[in-house]
Amino acid sequence: MRQSNAYIIIFSAVMTIILGGLLSLTSVGLKPLQDQQVELDTKRKILGAVMDISNLKTDKEVIDLYAQRVRSTVVDINAQPVETDERGNPMVAERINIQKNHKRSKDERYYPVFTVMSESDPNQVEAYVFPMFGAGLWDWISGFVALGQDLNTVKGVAFDHKQETPGLGARITDQEVRGRYAGKEIYDASGSLVSITMVKGENNTGLSVHEVDGMSGATLTAKGVNQMLEYYLSCYEIYIKKQKSGQSVASL
């Protein structure tokens, strides 16, 4: 009886229903918590690109600081503000899945911009943070690049990755490697976009303002980072130009 086909089919069906039900229940039950974690992670990275937040212990401190200092907008490729997504829901920059967003064509993609306000003057922009997405050596890498008020000098970066080798490519998330980007410039003297390149090898000397020292053993990850930076900075260029001209008008 235990070996009859009917028993096997019924047993498998019952098992599938029980296990499947269990998994869907957990998935649905944990979804809000997971979304919160992802959003918190995004906020941490945005703040982390601009300032040192390692002294913030609890999640609440991060959320509070974020609410106090950061404003967000979403623009399209032509720097026009986007208010609603294709289904008509209001756009929330923090909730945009940069991986899914990356798969759209360049013209249809949403471009979230996070502006971090100065601590003393809440109307003064301290940094513009641009999210980015690209391919590392093994899987995707992503980043938040913060440009200072002049929209040229890098204030800081935060990178993330899925599968880069720990100790090699995964070092892009280390404070020490990220710190190398601070103070570098994305425009040359003539005003054309050159992005920032991570060079091959480590302990290089004589680097220009458009180059950062590389990571020994992780040249391919560095290449991915370089491509990501160059591509997304070009996508944001219209917005950057627009902001710059707006600033010069305002200062006149």
């Binding site: 070996q3 047993f11 098992m15 599938t16 296990l19 998994l23 957990t26 998935s27 899925k162 100790g167």
Partner: protein, 223 residues
């Protein structure tokens, strides 16, 4: 007729085995050393190489594996008389996969940073031969309590080896233990060894552990 039933009752009423009898203790102690899943049975090498760069992810991985082994052993042992023989491997896989997915979802909800570090490796517990090996070799034919002990034994046997590997790799590869900079703290200037961060380092550490263990135990491969 009546004498037969009497006899049966006598057989059933033998004194209950103590919770940790000598036989049961062996379920736990054997896999720790003489029958270690990694160093003797050479199972679960993949994850032993992949996650052991640092102590913290290794510890989370160990806990996850122990959880999955113990509970899959328990569940399979409970339903061992219901499982049709011809589809038993699929049943085992389905139960392991469910447990592993649970671990992964819980990590994502409560321990997101670790979820990012371990990523695919938690999912790969499904293919960890230790788990399935224990189900097929032990839980299918033993009672639930014994199966739990066996799962604990194999789980800890796996855990202590990968923790040992991770200790040496993090110490020499990153100069730290649980992200605490040991060498800096005691004022030694030791250059980090990049080889230890690579999988090659894990092979070497693991090889040395196996060597030491086999020399001590006098274990030889059967030709």
């Amino acid at each position: 007729m009546s004498t037969e039933t009497l006899e049966q009752e006598v057989v059933v009423k033998e004194p209950a085995e103590p919770l940790l009898s000598k036989r049961r203790k062996k379920f736990i102690t054997d896999p720790l050393n003489e029958d270690n899943p990694i160093t003797i049975q050479v199972l679960g090498i993949c994850s032993a190489l992949a996650v052991t760069v640092k102590m913290e992810p290794t510890l989370v991985m160990s806990i996850s594996v122990v959880f999955v082994i113990v509970f899959s052993n328990l569940i399979i042992s409970l339903i061992r008389n219901l499982v049709p023989n011809r589809v038993r491997i699929i049943v085992q896989l389905a139960i392991i996969a469910t447990l592993v997915t649970l671990v992964s979802e819980v990590l994502k909800a409560y321990y997101y940073d670790m979820y990012k570090v371990l990523g695919a490796f938690v999912g790969l517990i499904i293919t960890n031969c230790i788990v399935m090996g224990r189900l097929e070799a032990f839980a299918m034919g033993n009672k639930p309590y014994d199966s739990i002990l066996d799962g604990l034994g194999s789980g800890f046997g796996y855990a202590w080896i990968i923790l040992a590997v991770a200790f040496f790799r993090e110490l020499f590869g990153s100069g730290s233990v649980f992200d605490f900079k040991v060498f800096e703290a005691i004022g030694l200037n030791v250059t980090n060894n990049g080889l230890m961060v690579d999988s090659i380092g894990a092979f070497m550490v693991l090889g040395i552990i196996i060597w030491v263990q086999r020399t001590k135990n006098g274990y030889v491969e059967h030709s």
